[in-house]
Amino acid sequence: MTEELENELRRSLRTNDPGELFTRRVMQRLPHEHRAAPRRWLTWSAGLAASLLLVFGIRQKVLEQREQAAGLRAKQELLEALRVTSGKLDLAYQAVDKENET
């Protein structure tokens, strides 16, 4: 008895596809903004994400350029420092040689 009742309930409560026509009617009756809202939210999110990516990309590029400029400046300074150092060491050796000659 109980089992029959359960089966009857299951049959009555099972989900039925209302069909394409019903869905379309419901959607038509919904206010316009309710239907458009999810799409607009997606558009805004995508736009924001793209903007963030653009800002991040530009920032990375600027940082890379700054680092490159600093590196090249450091390289030039290093070469200049070695040039001066070698020049003065050469002067020292020349002075010692001169002293020995006299």
Binding site: A70, G71, R83, V84, T85, V96
Partner: protein, 181 residues
């Protein structure tokens, strides 16, 4: 030639017998030379610590033999500090500035390997190295010329053989340093 061999022998002896307790840091305090900078016609002021040397090293082209040589030298360095001023007229630096540098180079570990003074040319060049263990850990050069005043301080493991290989490259004049035995 004999002079060069003698200098290298001094360096070799210092490297072999240098005190292990020497201060490993070869950095010296440079005097404030702002007054000189204002009067100089040409100024070279280089301050490169380990981080900047690393950055500079990354931009040295390993395929270029000259720059590769510089890279090898830089690898063991902790700092490069140069103050060089050229004047249009004969100039004598402040004694206090010179003494400040010299006094630091009398500290344990530092040795003067060259001290050349020419009264005729009015030139005085001194070269010092800091030896720690068996390694030159610092180099200092003090050069006083009639129209030029230069202080160089290189901190870190200085490989003289690599420095020798750099001679004549990058517009650097030949040093005439013979290869170490």
């Amino acid at each position: 030639m004999n002079t060069r061999i003698s200098i290298l022998l001094v360096i070799a002896t210092l490297l072999a017998t240098g005190p292990a307790w020497a201060d490993p840091s070869g950095k010296i305090r440079l005097p404030n030379l702002a007054a000189l900078e204002a009067r100089a016609s040409e100024t070279v002021e280089v301050t490169l610590d380990a981080a900047l040397l690393g950055m500079a090293s990354r931009f040295l082209d390993a395929k270029n033999p000259e720059e590769a040589g510089v890279r090898e030298i830089v690898n063991g360095l902790q700092g490069v500090y140069v103050r060089s001023y050229t004047f249009d007229e004969p100039f004598t630096p402040q004694k206090a500035d010179v003494d400040m540098v010299r006094s630091q180079l009398t500290a344990p570990g530092w040795s003067r390997i060259v001290g050349a003074r020419s009264r005729k040319d009015n030139t005085n060049v001194e070269v010092y190295i800091l030896v720690s263990g068996q390694q030159a850990m610092g180099l200092a050069v003090l050069a006083i010329e009639p129209k030029e005043f230069t202080i160089v301080n290189i901190v870190g493991a200085i490989d003289l053989e690599r420095l020798h290989r750099l001679e004549g490259q990058l517009g650097v004049p030949k040093l005439g340093i013979a290869k170490q035995p």
